[in-house]
Subunit: 208 residues, 2 copies
Amino acid sequence: MDDDDLRRGKPTNHVVFGEAEAILAGDGLLSFAFELMTHPDIRRAASGEDLVRIIHLVARAIGPTGMVGGQSLDLAAEGREIPYEQLRLIHRCKTGALITASVQAGAVFAGTDQERFAALSKYGESIGLAFQIVDDLLDVEGSTEDLGKTAGADVERKKATYPAFFGVERTRSMARDAVAAALAALADFDERAEPLRALARYIYDRKK
Amino acid sequence: MDDDDLRRGKPTNHVVFGEAEAILAGDGLLSFAFELMTHPDIRRAASGEDLVRIIHLVARAIGPTGMVGGQSLDLAAEGREIPYEQLRLIHRCKTGALITASVQAGAVFAGTDQERFAALSKYGESIGLAFQIVDDLLDVEGSTEDLGKTAGADVERKKATYPAFFGVERTRSMARDAVAAALAALADFDERAEPLRALARYIYDRKK
């Protein structure tokens, strides 16, 4: 949708296979996700009730109130000045919701109580925010080679981004804050949460 | 994807809202279907195991081996000569699979046994086939006003269709046969299957 020719260093789908096939690839993978989540092998590993709850969380995070809705708001905002609150909403829907849902899915699988579910949700939201802030930073500071997509594309298209609102320094400290919030949400978890903590740190340190 | 300006008598989404929003509307509705199928109200009405099975049937009917796969095969066949078996495969995926899955979903909800599930599947496949054959016929015989989409578009684009393979008369009799097969599949069902029978007849009689 940003019509970029590169993604992860490779030519984008619509450039190689044409627009119709690219749209179908999206629709096909989207459906296939639900096919996979309900595969007999998965059904043997979780109760029907848990699976249905997970599917609901994931579907909601993708659809009109999640990633797709966020992308639509993002398109509507292009080339216009929007308040920071709107940028936050766009990010919460566009990237935050699905990252959060993926953490919540694990929580449901593990049978956590409400309190831990809330803590893990908070962790998911925080790394989602951190991911987006760092993404904006990388667009300003990264190279096309490292990123695997065209660097500077956001500035080029006058997109509302964290650096555009707050400058690079303040943005970097906001990313740190978001990672700190993610780690704080895990305060009551033992060493089994270490991979989640490592993931939060990785999001801050990543170069692409 | 056929780039038609009209659908059901109204301007198509991409004509009114642009291509990006039209793609997102598709993605959003696709996700929303799964959000709806797992809504708490639905969860109260069916067991988790049944719901998961239904979601699997529906997802498979939409995805790479269903509607989306069929559409992709259809695009690949455009402007080329394909054997009739390929046309059948395209239709089975593109329209047949989802119609069949919608009948199967009802069967799972109702808790039917394997034999009846198979009979209802056969019914679904047969009305799916009838629907597609009649669709091809209407493109040749219907008016743009009745159809709500551009009549003659298939011929214009040299699409492989039943009339193109078999001529109009033979195609009409194939539609009749498909409806008869659908009704035969319901032979052991009592009067509660009357709406399904009426649906099969309607598909043959419809003018749009």
